[in-house]
């Protein structure tokens, strides 16, 4: 073995990022899934997205930051991530995937690391670069995204012990599953809201009766 695999848990995401193909196999073999590290990465994902919205330099910031609203950022990072995990798990258990929910969560989080690192660099660079130096920022951005996507495919492939085509199909259907989950969530929320309104109107009605 060229590398000493008995490393602390926090080193694993970086090791995996540097070895997109055998990294996840090593992770699986060592059973080094660490939920704490994964949750920290997901939180960083949220944090970096907030920073990206607020701290990107004026020359590169196309976000509507006139009113800062954290809810859409939270939804587009943390909620989206766990929807991905749940969607992937619920799909792949039906299609003889070997991954458990915890394992899917951990490897998916680890796959995000290159994106987060490049995003931090992009945020810093956007504050010191001019408009005509945009090529560097574009390159960094795409580089991070492509790297993370490659890692994500590798992660899903390894955790379920799939072939590459099956992985790609699984990812496609996971996205569909995510759409369905989110749709149901919205539906549920609007239903609960109506139940709440109903309950509240009964409460006010009763209050009018008794307070007179």
């Amino acid at each position: 073995m060229r590398f000493d695999l008995d490393m602390p848990a926090w080193k694993w995401p970086f090791y995996v990022a540097r070895h997109p193909f055998e990294g996840f196999e090593d992770l699986r073999w060592k059973k080094a899934y660490n939920m704490k590290v994964a949750l920290v990465i997901v939180f960083c994902f949220f944090l970096v997205t907030v920073c990206q919205t607020v701290m990107t330099g004026f020359l590169y910031n196309n976000n509507y930051v006139k009113i800062f609203n954290i809810v859409p950022l939270f939804t587009s990072t943390i909620v989206l991530f766990f929807t991905w995990v749940v969607g992937n798990w619920s799909l792949c258990t039906l299609f003889d995937g070997e991954g458990k929910m915890k394992e899917i969560c951990v490897v998916s989080a680890y796959a995000l690391v290159p994106y987060l690192i490049t995003q931090v660099v992009v945020i810093l660079a956007s504050n010191v670069l001019l408009r005509n130096e945009a090529a560097f920022i574009m390159f960094m951005q795409y580089f991070g995204i492509v790297w993370s996507v490659v890692l994500m495919i590798s992660a899903i492939k390894t955790v379920h012990q799939y072939t590459v085509p099956k992985t790609l199909i699984a990812i496609l259907f996971t996205v569909l599953a995510m759409v369905i989950i989110l749709f149901l969530l919205v539906l549920l929320m609007s239903l609960f809201q109506q139940v709440y309104v109903f309950g509240y109107s009964i409460y006010t009605e009763l209050m009018y009766r008794f307070s007179m």
């Binding site: 004026f58 020359l59 006139k66 010191v128 001019l130 408009r131 005509n132």
Partner: protein
């Protein structure tokens, strides 16, 4: 017994009533001025123009036919009824166009429903001349107009005699011709439908608007033609089509393009042809550039163009054609689209652009670099608001808007705020950024939402070398300006702190080398210890 809540409620109501009263007293304008901020959201702003007066046909009183008595006698014989010299003007009926001749300070109003042209002075109070019978030199008869829609007046500096200097072009819509005449109303040229080899036989020739350039070329805008304006040589012969819009890139247009490249020509002909929107109005500036506007509910491509004599849109190269003209967002109420629909354009003697949005009755005033200056006007029945504005013209800081349905002319005069902005703007466009600082400061004390003042001040700071302050001014106001200021600031920063950069780099390199050596030594020691 009144509870505490009730007392509070009564107090709040009375306060509201008082504020409502006071606001209705303060609001002397029937519309509110606004501007757009960095995010394209409307923000309240000072108005640059206020309504000066509203003049309708009855206010003109009586007018005089420009024909001589002998001519009138001849017309009476030809018409079979007596035609009086003095006429009661009466209400205007569907006036469609207004034109101001800057050289003679005359205002021409096309009173379409009454088939006549009214000529008066720029104050709209002077003597009115009525033009309704025109002597056609070719046929030797007196002719009338039929639903004229546009007028243009040009001065030919090398004319044979002074009475042939002023040339009037009228878009005679229903008659399908453009009579070209001298000031005395004698038609010396009639531009009619070109021969069929240039002009499709199933397309009508009904001139909507007309203009002429310095060389005397005549441009006729026809609503049923999407190839642009029909251009005629000074002698009335067809020369070409001029300045068509681009095809809007919709999903369908792209799909059709795709199929056309795959299929052979015959199969491709079965597809719906993608044609550009026809433009609806145009104006020419002193340098010979022609500006066109496209009146459309849905189109966003080439709403406003500036064409050079070759017919190319110079705004494309400058990136202005990507801008949104008129209101930023269109909104829907009961399925009706209330987005801007630009129906007329005017370029005044200072190069200021004014676009008329006929759906919301607003005038959008831009600099020659398409920076929004003011928005004013609105729709309604109140005095100073419009029902169906049809044409706009500006002269000497006064804006004239013609209302087709109301049959009136509304004039706007510039406010003190407008004067200051224009003063600052004039200095700014000349590149006198430092001199413009005072007026821009004055603008900001009156209206801190006025975004262009920040750009002006930023440029003033730039010219003084205060790049950091300039960056503050450009922040959230101008990306281009910020980029320029930041470039200078960064260069200065690196130059000033060059020694520090070198020291940091050297220290980091030395630290890395030393650390590596230490790690190696430690490893060796460990390895040695094990053995």
């Amino acid at each position: 017994m009144p509870t505490k809540k009730k007392i509070l409620g009564a107090a709040a109501a009375s306060i509201m009533a008082v504020t409502m009263l006071t606001t209705s007293i303060v609001a002397d304008q029937p519309y509110e001025g606004y501007q757009y901020d960095w995010w394209g959201d409307p923000v309240p702003s000072q108005t640059g123009y206020v309504v000066d007066k509203v003049v309708d046909g009855i206010d003109f009183g009586t007018g005089v036919r420009y024909n001589t008595d002998e001519q009138l006698k001849e017309i009476s014989e030809q018409e079979g009824k007596t035609v009086e010299k003095t006429v009661e003007i009466g209400p205007l009926s569907d006036p469609m166009d207004i034109f101001i001749d800057r050289q003679t300070e005359k205002v021409y109003i096309v009173d379409s429903g009454n088939d006549r042209i009214l000529v008066t002075d720029t104050e709209l109070t002077g003597k009115v001349t009525v033009m309704d019978y025109f002597y056609n030199t070719a046929t030797g008869k007196y002719e009338t107009l039929n639903g004229p829609r546009g007028i243009f007046v040009r001065h030919d500096s090398d004319a044979e005699s002074p009475d042939k200097e002023t040339i009037i072009y009228i878009a005679d819509y229903e008659n399908g011709r453009v009579p070209v005449m001298y000031e005395d109303g004698s038609i010396f040229l009639e531009v009619t439908r070109p021969s069929s080899e240039f002009y499709e036989s199933d397309v009508t020739f009904q001139p909507n608007k007309v203009l002429a350039d310095v060389a005397g070329n005549i441009y006729v805008n026809i609503k049923s033609i999407t190839d642009g304006a029909v251009m005629f040589a000074p002698d009335g012969t067809f020369s070409s089509y001029y300045g068509a819009n681009r095809v809007q890139q919709t999903a369908q247009a792209i799909a059709n393009k795709f199929w056309k490249t795959i299929l052979d020509r015959e199969a491709a002909q079965n597809f719906i042809q993608n044609v550009p929107m026809e433009f609806s109005n145009f104006d020419i500036d002193d340098e010979g550039f022609i500006y066109t506007v496209t009146e459309s509910k849905s189109a966003t491509t080439d709403i406003f163009k500036k064409l050079n004599p070759a017919g190319e849109n110079v705004f494309i190269k400058l990136g202005y054609s990507e801008l949104t003209f008129g209101d930023m967002a269109s909104y829907y109420v009961h399925g009706m689209n209330y987005g801007s629909s630009i129906s007329d354009v005017d370029i005044d003697e200072n190069g200021v652009i004014r676009l008329l949005d006929y759906r919301n009755g607003r005038v959008f005033e831009y600099t020659d670099e398409c920076d929004l200056l003011f928005i004013y006007g609105g729709t309604g029945n109140q005095k100073g608001l419009f029902n169906t504005p049809s044409a706009i013209e500006a002269y000497n800081n006064t804006v004239y808007v013609l209302d087709q349905r109301k049959g009136s002319i509304t004039t706007f005069k510039r406010t003190e705020f407008g004067d200051i902005v224009h003063e600052a703007m004039a200095l700014y466009t000349e590149g006198k950024y430092e001199e413009a600082r005072g007026p821009w400061m004055e603008v900001l004390t009156r209206d801190s939402n006025y975004w262009f003042a920040y750009i002006g001040l930023g440029n003033a700071e730039m010219s003084q070398g205060n790049y950091e302050t300039a960056m503050d001014y450009f922040y959230m106001n101008s990306r281009g300006g910020y980029n320029r200021a930041f470039k200078q600031f960064r260069m200065q920063f690196v130059r000033d702190n060059f020694n520090w950069f070198i020291i940091i780099i050297v220290v980091v390199i030395v630290a890395i080398v030393v650390l590596k050596m230490l790690v190696k030594k430690l490893k060796k020691k460990k390895a040695g210890g094990k053995q």
